[in-house]
Structures are given as structure tokens and as C-alpha cells.
């Protein structure tokens, strides 16, 4: 479903456009409509390419470019647009335009037609929203007739039933209450393997956020070592110094990586 609906208002009077927008927002405050106002037919055609309106409300007597021409132009650029052609009351006519098959409307119906011109998905959700407030109230009133049944006093009851096991149980106390933690662990028959048990039971992995960074560094240094030894034509003392330095760096990076992992594991233990 669309997350927003785009409406092009191509009307000769900007005040009228703004008035339509204001009325629409007042009536449908949460409706996600984006309005684009234009008073220039040619500019409207240019904007359609980017704006891609789902609904276009077009003044039939558009200055410079007739409303029908503009409508045809919009449809040729963006065929999914729903066109609403509007005229002022004193120019109302019952004659439609066969080529476009769109109704000619008076301004006071433009608001309604904008809604009808919206994509069908939006219409369903929006019509639901329109009646939602009242509808939910009615639904609530209907449902409440069953509400008096089987309602307790809201008191929460906590019960636990256990079957004793041979291996006993270990408690893990939160940090705020750690004073008895080591004592409890010492009493547990599984104290010797507590870390593994905790890790497995709680699916805790030793945290090593720098793993990817370390691998990247080791990888880059390893590539440089390989290149320096086998590809680059490094001669003389400088060349050998560079090779040996890169090799030493690579070795130290690897050692450092494993040392860090060991240290982290020890810390968690």
C-alpha cells in the first residue's frame, strides 16, 4: 500500500487551491496527502514527471493551457493518475469528455472527488478511519455486554510447580544483588563448569566486537606481506627491511588477536 498519496491541484486561483487543502486537512486530519499546487499548465506537465500524482484536480478553464489538454498531457505522462476536472458553478456543464471519460464537476464537489479519486487501497483504509472513531465506540458497546462474565478481581496469582532433578539448579543473581552470588555458585554442583553452563543456557557469546576489524587488519597486512615477498621486486637492504617488517607486523597482529580473545574469555570467566 502507498505510504502517501500525491494530489496535484492545477487551479487558476491559488486561494481556491489552498482553501481545498485546508478543508481536506480539517476533514481528514491524518490522511497522508501531499498537495502540489500549480497555476501554470506547462509547469504542471513538467512536474508530473517527478511528482507522479495519483490524483489531479484540474481547472477546466486553465489559463494558457486548456484543462482537457492538461489532463491528456498528464495521462500520457503518467497513466495511473486519476483526473478530476473541475469548473466553477456558473460554468457547470453536464457534458463530459468522451476521450478522457472524466466527470466535470463543480468546485464544491472537488473535495469529495479527491477522496474518490484516491487509490482503492487507501480508500478502504481511509473509509475505515473515517468511521473508525464511531465504529470502535459501537463495537466496544457491543462487546461490553459480554464483559461482565468471568471477570476476576484482577488479583495476580503466582504459582510454580517443579519436579526435582538430580543435577540441581543454579541461580544467577542480578548485579544489584551480587553479594551472595559467589556463595551460591560455590554451593552448586556445577560450579566447576559454570561459565560454560551460563554461556550455553543463556546463549551468551564472548563479546568481541573488534573481531571483524582485526580480521581486516590481519588480512590487509597478510596481502602486503605476500606481495612484498613474491611480487614486488624489492632489492637491497631497504627491500629486505620492508619485507621483514611486514612479516613481523603480520605475526604480531595474529598474536595480538589471539591474546585479546584469550583475555576477554578470562575476564568473562
Amino acid at each position: 500500500m502507498e505510504s502517501e498519496v500525491r494530489v496535484l491541484l492545477a487551479l487558476s486561483d491559488r486561494n481556491l487551491s489552498q482553501s481545498i487543502i485546508d478543508k481536506f486537512h480539517h476533514k481528514y486530519p491524518s490522511c497522508p496527502l501531499i498537495f502540489d499546487i500549480t497555476e501554470d499548465g506547462q509547469r504542471a506537465l513538467n512536474e508530473v514527471r517527478f511528482f507522479k500524482p495519483q490524483v489531479a484536480v484540474i481547472d477546466r478553464n486553465f489559463p494558457g493551457l486548456a484543462g482537457e489538454e492538461l489532463a491528456q498531457g498528464i495521462l500520457s505522462l503518467y497513466s495511473e493518475c486519476n483526473i478530476v476536472l473541475a469548473v466553477s458553478k456558473d460554468q457547470k456543464t453536464d457534458v463530459g469528455f468522451a476521450q478522457l471519460e472524466v466527470p466535470i464537476l463543480s468546485w464544491d464537489r472537488a473535495l469529495l472527488e479527491i477522496t474518490r479519486g484516491l487509490p482503492i487501497d487507501f480508500q478502504i483504509q481511509y473509509s475505515l478511519f473515517e468511521r473508525n472513531q464511531l465504529f470502535l465506540k459501537r463495537l466496544e458497546a457491543y462487546a461490553l455486554k459480554y464483559a461482565s462474565q468471568n471477570k476476576g478481581d484482577g488479583e495476580i496469582v503466582t504459582r510454580a510447580w517443579n519436579f526435582q532433578q538430580k543435577n540441581g539448579e543454579t541461580e544467577i543473581i542480578p548485579e544489584s544483588n551480587q553479594s551472595g552470588h559467589s556463595e551460591i555458585l560455590a554451593r552448586s554442583p556445577l560450579a566447576g563448569s559454570q561459565t560454560d553452563l551460563n554461556s550455553k543456557a543463556l546463549n551468551i557469546q564472548p563479546s568481541f566486537n573488534a573481531t571483524r576489524f582485526e580480521f581486516a587488519v590481519i588480512g590487509i597486512v597478510g596481502i602486503l606481506v605476500g606481495l612484498s615477498w613474491f611480487h614486488f621486486d624489492l632489492e637491497g637492504a631497504f627491500g629486505w627491511t620492508l619485507r621483514l617488517s611486514l612479516l613481523a607486523t603480520f605475526v604480531f597482529c595474529c598474536l595480538g588477536f589471539f591474546a585479546l580473545r584469550w583475555a576477554v574469555r578470562e575476564q568473562r570467566t
Binding site: 478502504i124 465504529f135 461490553l144 462474565q149 503466582t158 510447580w161 526435582q164 532433578q165 543435577n167
Partner: protein, 312 residues
């Protein structure tokens, strides 16, 4: 869609009972178990929690865990015989894998206690059945005996004896058969691996007309009113009895719900979500025959009703 819904208090907050699949859910269960047992924050962990054969079931409501159960593989060497009942003698007479529901904890309102307990046990048994277990032991609290006897549990000791807990045995096949008997659309229960339980209270609204939903339900008991908006009024067009699949069209097609469903009484339901259900359809398309059977039955029933109306 940036629609601002006014969430009404009638929108259902059922108790949902599922198997725990993630670490976070397991941690929640451990904390809840500890809190239920000792009344203080913490986590209770034992060796059985880390075994791959262990199943943890959790129940949550409004994002808060309200109950849990654990089912483990029964191995007599893991269990003490002095303090509590010795199942080993019974286990020698049984052929097939045996599970044990060894921990159940609940923290819920008094009125929901029994039903939550019942469905935690049922979910545990269904999950054990998926793993191929034939029998289940349970050292049951005495106050829940009637509920368990109705689930086809049999007592291994004299029911009249004193003692807070009673050893019980369940043959999984008997339980599943008796469970399916109550469902008119029993084919849907063949998708046991993806269903879960939702317990709705009286006056809760399962679905709202016009909204898009992705869950279908089958009530195990209770009843559900079908209500539609007719101009200014809400009209109840029917009452759906237990055992009938409801909400399946919206689940399959993603179309708006055609009516609202309101629980007339406490209604535990078997529920299916679209995502997991469709995963099975895509991976095992032959199983869609089960769904076709249900829909065909509906269609022929509708045709019969139309024919009868035309005769009139």
C-alpha cells in the same frame, strides 16, 4: 500507511502461548521461573536448560511474560527418586520416547490461572509430539487434576491419597486424537508445527471489520459473534461454534476483514500466522490439499444454502 489508529481498550490482548525460540525469550523464561519460585529477581538455570531436547514454552500478554513450562526428555538417571515420585517403574513398561513436563510457572489473574495452566501443558504436549515423543509424565498439582484428566492424562497413583502433587501419564496419540475430535475443520491441525494458542477473554475483539490481518483462528471452545456494520448499527449475523476455521480469507489473501469477531465467552483458540503458514505452503505444496478440503467444504455448504434459499 501513516494512519493514526485510535487503539480502543476492546482491542484484544490475548494470552499467547508459543514455544520459545530465541535467546531473549529463554532469558525471560528463566527470570520468570526464578521470580515465580523465589519471589526475587534472578535467573534459575540447570543442566537440562542447555540440552537440545529441552522445550521451553512461554505465555505472554501485552508484551509481559505470564507463564512458562518446560518439557524435557525423561531419563531416569537425571532424576532423584527420594524426594518426589519415581517414574522409572512406569517408564519400564512403556515403549517409545518419554517426555517429562518438569516445570510450570504462572503469574496471572486468578480467573485465568487454570486455563493458562491447561494450555501451557497442551502446547508442551503438541511440541513433544512433533519431536516424536509417545508418552509424557507430569507430576501434577492436585488442584489441576480434573483439567488434566479431561486431557486424557491418567493417574499413576491413587487419586484419593493425600499429597500436593499426583504423578500422571499421558499417551500423546490419545491426546492428539481427542483434541482433533472437537474440530470440524480438523485438517488445519495437521499444521501443528506452526500453530500456537491464543486465549481471548469474554468481550475481546479478535478482528475488526475492514482491517487487514494475517492471522486465522480456530476456537477450541467458547463462541465467537460475527458482527457487521449496517449503516448506523452493528448487527450480529451469526455465532461461530468451536472447531471452525475463521479469518482464513484475510490470512490468505490479505484482503480487509469482512466482519468483526467478538468473543462471547472466554475462548481459547488455535492461531496461525500468515508468514509461517505460507512458508510451509511454499516448502511443502502438497500439504495445501488440507486447506483445499476446508475451503471446498465451505463452498459446498454455501451452495447448499443458496439452493435452499432459492427453493423458498
Amino acid at each position: 500507511m501513516l494512519l493514526l489508529w485510535n487503539i480502543s481498550t476492546i482491542l484484544a490482548m490475548p494470552i499467547i502461548i508459543k514455544q520459545a525460540k530465541s535467546s531473549k525469550q529463554l532469558i525471560d523464561i528463566l527470570e520468570h521461573r526464578h521470580l515465580s519460585k523465589y519471589g526475587t529477581p534472578g535467573r534459575s538455570v540447570d543442566a537440562l536448560d542447555i540440552l537440545p531436547t529441552t522445550l521451553n514454552i512461554l505465555a505472554y500478554q501485552e508484551g509481559r511474560i505470564v507463564g512458562s513450562a518446560r518439557a524435557v526428555h525423561y531419563d531416569k538417571s537425571d532424576f532423584v527418586s527420594e524426594a518426589q515420585y519415581d517414574f522409572s517403574e512406569s517408564s519400564q513398561k512403556l515403549r517409545g520416547s518419554i517426555g517429562l513436563i518438569d516445570t510450570v510457572s504462572v503469574s496471572v489473574s486468578k480467573s485465568s490461572l487454570k486455563i493458562l495452566f491447561e494450555y501451557l501443558i497442551k502446547m508442551s504436549v503438541f511440541r513433544l509430539s512433533l519431536k516424536g515423543y509417545k508418552y509424557v509424565f507430569f507430576y501434577a498439582p492436585r488442584e489441576m487434576i480434573e483439567t488434566l484428566l479431561a486431557m486424557q492424562f491418567i493417574s499413576l497413583s491413587d487419586l484419593d491419597a493425600t499429597g500436593a502433587q499426583v504423578p500422571m501419564l499421558l499417551k500423546v496419540e490419545d491426546f492428539v486424537k481427542s483434541f482433533e475430535l472437537r474440530f470440524a475443520d480438523k485438517e488445519i491441525l495437521r499444521f501443528r508445527e506452526v500453530f500456537y494458542f491464543s486465549i481471548f477473554d469474554a468481550s475481546e475483539v479478535l478482528v475488526i471489520e475492514g482491517e487487514r490481518g494475517n492471522t486465522a483462528y480456530v476456537a477450541e471452545r467458547g463462541s465467537v459473534d460475527v458482527v457487521v456494520q449496517n449503516e448506523e448499527n452493528l448487527v450480529s449475523i451469526s455465532r461461530i461454534p468451536p472447531g471452525v476455521l475463521i479469518g482464513e480469507v484475510a490470512m490468505i489473501t490479505n484482503e480487509p476483514r469482512t466482519a468483526s469477531l467478538i468473543c462471547a465467552e472466554i475462548t481459547p483458540c488455535v492461531a496461525f500466522d500468515r508468514g509461517e503458514f505460507f512458508n510451509i505452503m511454499y516448502s511443502e505444496p502438497h500439504r495445501s490439499v488440507e486447506v483445499f478440503k476446508i475451503l471446498s467444504r465451505r463452498l459446498s455448504a454455501s451452495n447448499r444454502r443458496i439452493a435452499e434459499m432459492k427453493k423458498v
